[in-house]
Symmetry: C2
Subunit: 350 residues, 2 copies
């Protein structure tokens, strides 16, 4: 090693194929069938590829905890039904949400393109990671799409101090010709729970306004907020939006709220178990006579952001993606070691 080389950082470099192999081997070893393991490993890989480490390999230990929990069904096979010409329902059977999404996707696309709007209701699924890969997939098929789920009752409503709501993510995708789709995916809590946990691990404090301690007083100490209550973003408006998600991806589709999900977990600390609502809209059917004008108007809106230096929400992810597809990614050695202890193997199994 040359004298001027900086000291070796304690990281491990991985190709995206190695990320996928690591994830797959851990998930298989934990007992997942191929139906469940493949789409979960895929989303982990996509999150690492896009620089979303908090939703990537870091999730594997939690996955193992979820898979080993009493409520998880190792034999789960998603079951598709069609309550109407506009609705696909997939019963995930107490497996992960992702295989259910995959199974429902072709019908959702078909129905949305036939009718202009369609709904995919996923029931009895364990939550997995980010929703943006789902709305991005729909947008790449030409559909605008919304996705939302409850989670666990960790978040106090505006004006209250006791946790009632989940971190309830909302994701949205919009198709763009010859460009990456416009995509956002945000937690309706002021901070993502994983980011609060990560701040705790690093010994950092939180920004003001992200949570309350068990006495209901504002706190910036991660451990206190995790034991007390998180808050929603945007005051009463964020609380309203989060409540809407509870209702639409819960009771509307015959599934649990975040409070129900937490009770169902009974302290096992598995991932939230809930429903997911995806609504897909077809611009080709809904947009009327002049699709080129519609596209020009949407593109002018995006340009009015970027021309003044305001970022589109998915811009950073796409930038990282363009890089990591060639370079692969780096993860902390401590995480790598933890994954290999769980049975992770870098080489793809035949």
């Amino acid at each position: 090693m040359a004298e001027n080389t900086p000291p070796a950082v304690d990281i491990v470099d991985l190709s995206l194929e190695e990320v996928r192999a690591l994830a797959l081997s851990v998930l298989r070893k934990a007992g997942l069938t191929e139906t469940q393991a493949a789409p979960v490993a895929e989303t982990i890989t996509l999150c690492e590829r896009d620089g979303r480490a908090s939703h990537g390999l870091l999730r594997l230990p939690g996955c193992v905890m979820t898979i080993e929990s009493a409520n998880f069904n190792l034999q789960a096979e998603p079951e598709v039904s069609e309550p109407s010409a506009a609705v696909v329902r997939v019963d995930a059977g107490f497996g992960y949400s992702l295989p259910a999404f995959e199974r429902g996707l072709p019908l959702l696309e078909e129905k949305a393109k036939a009718l202009g709007v369609a709904v995919l209701a996923i029931n009895n699924c364990f939550h997995f990671s980010a929703l943006w890969p789902e709305v991005e997939t729909l947008a790449r098929r030409g559909l605008a799409a919304l996705a939302m789920t409850p989670s666990h009752a960790w978040v106090a409503p505006f004006g209250g101090i006791k946790p009632v709501l989940g971190t309830n993510p909302l994701a949205f995708g919009w198709p763009r010709a010859d460009k990456n789709p416009y995509v956002f995916d945000f937690a309706t809590s002021a901070m993502a729970r994983s980011d609060i946990a990560m701040a705790g691990t690093k010994g950092e404090t939180l920004p003001e306004g992200c949570g309350l301690n068990e006495q209901g007083n504002p706190s910036t100490v991660p451990a206190e907020v995790l034991a007390g209550a998180m808050t929603t973003f945007g005051g009463h408006k964020g609380t309203a939006l989060s409540t809407m998600i509870e209702l639409l991806a819960g009771p509307l589709i015959g599934d649990m709220t975040s409070r129900d999900s937490m009770e169902f977990d009974a302290g096992e600390k598995a991932a939230p178990c809930h429903g997911e609502l995806i609504v897909a809209f077809d611009p080709a059917l809904l947009g009327g006579d002049d699709p080129a004008l519609n596209e020009a108007r949407a593109e002018a809106l995006f340009a009015a952001f970027t021309d003044q230096g305001a970022r589109l929400p998915s811009q950073q992810r796409y930038g990282t993606r363009a890089r990591t597809q060639n370079t692969g990614v780096s993860i902390p050695r401590a995480l790598y070691d933890r994954i290999t202890e769980l049975g992770g193997e870098r080489a793809t199994q035949a």
Copy 2:
């Protein structure tokens, strides 16, 4: 008058019938047909009834300005079409949105109950006031519903300083058996534009974070913010939500963004002209086998708010409504005088 009577406050007491008669007479005098005048007067009355003065009679002078603007079509009759079994389109013909909503409502309800989800796309409508009456109407018919519109490009995106987005309201309604529906309706701007204008009239300053002056620096002076740029609520998340509304109630349904609408207005200061998207969901079709359980779960969620003293978003409006239905309302005499100058008459015309 007894000696101890407090000095007469400069207000005028009105029954709700008198509110409606005032609104109707002004709108008719300005040239509106019954098709247009009746639903606009109705919404003004509902806003006064529910204590939403900023969206009530106060809007009449602006209505007259809109009605007299070059783009407004005094002969507008909403035209209904059915692009698919799940979609109702109503071309408002450059009249108000409210008659178009009324015209599309029966088909939207029918389609949502047949299919579980349906869309009402209103095109070429001038914006009028609040969206909550529409989602409340749908919720009273047993449907969960979302409504959204762009407005005028008054709001800078997070990370920018130039106005691009509208104040883009989002409204949501959820049906509750034997109870008033759960309803929210909020601007995705940090403050409603009418509230900023009202603060200016009263000589008040704004809370921090609601806007920027023309140089792009934070300002709490109403006039500076009205001339510069408003901001979205909730930082980048509010900006994302507002952008979604631009796209879904704009290019998705073949209509204008807030930027287009402002250009279309060409400085006339009429109300925004745009599209409106309403999505209705039928819990009876989507909810599966146990509607009583779904209802119990939703009600337990609401109880977890109110039991700890957190308010449900529509609670205050319903409280005011219960009162004003008997007592009527009071409005400032200055507003009353302005309305009579516009031709307002208190007695209902035969």
